[in-house]
Amino acid sequence: METNKAFFRRLTRYYCWYTFGFIVFLLVLAVLEHEGMPRAWIGYLFLFVTIALYAGIGVLSRTSDVPEYYVAGRRVPALFNGMATAADWISAATFISLAGGLYLQGFDGLAYIMGWTGGYCLVALLIAPYLRKFGQYTLADFLAERYGGNFVRILAVIATILISFTYVVAQIYGVGLITSRFTGIDFSIGIFLGLASILVCSFLGGMRAITWTQVAQYIIILFAYLIPVLWLSAKHTGVPVPQVAYGSVLPKLNALEQRIAADPKEQEVRAIFQARADDYDNKLQHLPRSWEDGRIDAQHHSEEIRRDSHASLADIKSASRALSAYPKSIEEAEHKWNDAKSYNLSRAQPPVSQTEPFPGKDEEAADIKRNNFLALVFCLMIGTAALPHILMRYYTTPSVHEARKSVFWTLFFIMLIYVTVPALAILVKYDIYTSLVGSNYAHLPDWVYYWASIDKANPLVSITDLNHDHIVQLGEISLDGDIIVLATPEIAGLPYFISGLVAAGGLAAALSTADGLLLTISNALSHDVYYKVIDPSASSQKRVTISKLLLLVVALLAAYAASLKPGDILSMVGAAFSLAASTLFPALVLGIFWKRANQAGAIAGIISGFLMCVYYMVHTHPAFGGSAAGQWFHIAPISAGLFGVPVGIGTLIVVSLLTPPPDERTLALIDHIRTP
């Protein structure tokens, strides 16, 4: 007990010094920027210093001992495990996209805030303490021991890998985006730089190194997320506590929204988009004739311009570009024009109210929105309580009580960020509505030019004077959600080193999550498949070595998958939650709370939950060839778990009752995990 306390004090001392050092580093950069250090150098410094730091912690905590490698020696104090789990949890999507989602979707975006915090109630009440008491290494360990047999173990491993791999690809993709946007280095080089730091860390020290790195990363994430919002809050409300102060901005924002919805100039811009959408609609209705006419028109236009001796080079270029971009076939035309129509239609809508729940044109549309909100919250919560890389962390605490306490700390540290997310979205929105909307095109702020030039193909921000009145209307601004966090420092008028800090924070969020996920995958393969199934007599040295090798292979595979830039990566991450909820949650929770659950039931439950979830996604998601017409109760494919979870639970119960009850040994195990 005394050594635990001494260990805790030592850790606290280390991390206090670390935080102090980090603040000094920020101050030094502030001075350097003041002295005229170029922007690019500040970006490089942040990138390399933080990556070197994570690698350094990895080197310091290198280990080949099995309990140290898999569960950090089971002596991580609750507070630090909570911090590490929070960093594990806060992914690139949370850090970069969550506030943007709130900005664009208004109330609907709050489903993520609720779902991703409420899930921890389930973790605390239903899973973490029991898993800690069980005290092995992986999630599959528990399911295999509880239900008996290697088949359950293999199913659990497959589910773990499917869930974690999609998730890790998204993280590495995020690493590539952040490094390439902030330092200008190539996307794939960014990926491999990030990968190097992940590898040094988890390769050398497994769970132990990852835990201590994640604590360090959490501190950076916290600084990076809070500083710009504090600043914005002080600027607009005079109170530097954004979580409380943004309430006073809300009524002003509502008034602005109403004014913009009624403004004639705004309506003019929206009418332009409506006209464009109608034009595409008209073309779509007259396929295939409209396609042929359009092609001939484009050819004529191009030839005419080339013959015209007064035409400028730019005109000729744009005409020939229009010709070459013209759809090659009727199918392509239908696809492209449909996209263009829905894009223009979406921009023809008045701005979404930030605070009104479920706005809809009638009662039915609003009900559909509400049901989807609830379904998404349900899937995110249940999914959270079944994510292998999060649950694995609760094996690392010294006792059951510490495991419970550590869920509290996890939720606390996650909340520190999540409570700030809506504040950030609303303050940025207020800033844009007041200072950008209504300003003159001659005086656009610098950040607009900077962020518009980053990614030419899919610009993060674009502003075009559609009605030629030289005044910016809200309808003329098109923002990518990701920019909300990344550009906050510049929108708030902060110096550039704060932008670098935000990038470092995003990088820390992506790397910390990727670390945990890669370790989960390689542990599932090395511990569950190799050691438990293929070669149970393997020495501990050999097990750790195999795990390290697999880590390398999985990391390279994930990096390769990310470098292909899969377009639908974000919806795949959403799908991972539904998948985790439908496959693992029923078997986990019923395994603890229902003694009658048996092997046949678990196998049937896992498989049926999985099939149900995948069937619904394939049936309704356009990326898999499905369509919205196949939806049940208008539930979006991301919430497939709404159907998967009940099917999984129901099948598990029915099949268990139809087959013989579990044996004495299993009942003894359940009693064992139920007592602390």
Binding site: F107, L110, I113, M114, T117, G118, Y120, C121, L122, A124, L125, L126, P129, Q243, G247, S248, L250, P251, Q354, T355, E356, P357, F358, A366, R370, F373, L374, V377, F378, M381, V400, H401, R404, K405, V407, F408, L411, F412, M415, Y418, V419, P422, F593, D671, R674, T675, P676
Partner: protein, 99 residues
């Protein structure tokens, strides 16, 4: 006059059983709180929206902050109460072995 047969008293619970009962009841209570603040509150979000709380529309405040604070409270209550139950169990077990 017939005396109705006495209902046989249930066998006294062992400390471990008592602990599990406490734990199950607590879990169920807290889960229902969790359910109400999450699903029932959101279901009626449009009705709650008319209420203002220090200038915040109530349903927005709940979804953006209030619900999270309730979640945190749920986890705190669980941790504290289970800690107490755990200590009682250890005390009872020691007494049991002392006899």
């Amino acid at each position: 006059m017939k005396i109705p047969p006495a209902i046989p008293a249930p066998p006294p619970m062992t400390p471990a059983e008592a602990y599990w009962q406490t734990s199950r009841r607590l879990t169920l209570t807290l889960l229902s709180v969790w359910f109400v603040v999450t699903f029932v509150a959101v279901f009626f979000a449009r009705e709650l929206d008319r209420i203002n709380l220090f200038g915040w529309p109530l349903s927005f405040y709940m979804a953006a902050q209030g619900v999270m604070l309730v979640y945190l409270a749920i986890v705190v209550i669980y941790t504290v109460r289970m800690r107490r139950a755990e200590q009682e169990l250890h005390a009872a077990n020691e007494q049991h072995h002392g006899d």
